[in-house]
Symmetry: C2
């Protein structure tokens, strides 16, 4: 298994450059295509499980630890967990010490669209110089506060604007953005919905 992984992800995992890689948009395209070949020969390594653990810290504050995940046929862990804090602004009865959950959702979408776009552009040899994007979503508290059953709890809609610096014709700018929306795991999850199951137990 480990040999397959090494084949798949090459010098990224081995830490040794065996040849000068083709890098587009900062992405090692050789490794990307080697990954694709490895998945074709061993489909199971494509299955990933991502995880977080969260702990409540009173009122609107809580903190997630991000570390272990399962991917490429093995358990993977970071040397140190990434810690993500959440809070609410004062107007939503918090202490405003961190971004709030629905802002984190926009960040997840922005980050995933950007990375998906950049990776898939790299695979096609499309060089991108700069990317900036802005995101805005609408929430009506009549939903969350049980004041109107016709109003949903979540975002009613999200608007995304991408600005790209790339030496491509005007009409290709939209195609490049579509590489993001057409492949992004968060975009798919958020636009098409995901089944979420929950359990509860005593601590």
């Amino acid at each position: 298994m480990f040999e397959k992984l090494n084949q798949a992800w090459g010098d990224t995992i081995m830490g040794t450059a065996l040849q000068v890689p083709t890098v587009v948009n900062g992405v090692n395209v050789d490794n990307l295509f080697t990954t694709i070949d490895a998945i074709k020969s061993t489909p199971a390594i494509a299955k990933f499980k991502f995880r977080i653990q969260n702990r409540w810290e009173g009122a609107a504050q809580n903190r997630s630890a991000v570390n272990e995940f399962h991917g490429a046929g093995q358990e993977c862990s970071r040397q140190k967990s990434f810690v993500l804090h959440a809070d609410e602004p004062a107007v939503l009865l918090g202490k405003d010490s961190a971004a709030n959950p629905v802002e984190y959702l926009l960040h997840a979408l922005a980050a995933c669209l950007t990375t998906s776009m950049v990776y898939h552009a790299a695979a096609r040899g499309i060089q991108i110089e700069e990317v900036e994007s802005s995101f805005e979503g609408d929430i009506d508290l009549h939903g969350f506060l049980d004041l109107d059953p016709k109003v949903r709890n979540g975002y009613q809609g999200i608007r995304v604007n991408f600005k790209l610096k790339a030496d491509v014709p005007e009409e290709q700018l939209r195609e490049i953005v579509k590489l993001g929306t057409g492949h992004s795991p968060v975009f798919d999850s958020l636009t098409n919905g995901v089944p979420v199951s929950d359990t509860a137990e005593r601590l």
Copy 2:
């Protein structure tokens, strides 16, 4: 308008305690009910717009700034932006300098379920002592890598486990968790889907 806001959010905004507030789970329940009354009399103040701006930093790295939002009838801003970084682990061709987008999505869900649960429990006078939760979601890269059109790009499913410390009967633990799933904006967004529109322009 500003007077209405002060009525609505009381001493949270004014910074002056006019009376000893009722605090449950760290949440000022007086302010929560005053907010609800204010929205009943001025429905427009319930409409919020949340925003982020993101900038690509090469390969899988990008960074969001979180600051201004619209809510309670006015533009609101923080003194300093919250900055959220994203990357991918080496096995996904990144430098593993930050949580990845689909891990941020789990954090958004965890944070929102926890806060929604705690707020709505507080409104009902249910005291919660501790909350811990864990989240796991499945992604098959056959989707993202265009290797199988039957495999979706996003999460195929997410499993949530809540552990609560509260002086309530066993059967009420699930009801408390349902206060989260039944009201959380991120849970609704993610399970039912959100329309996302996008535009592209030259930087």
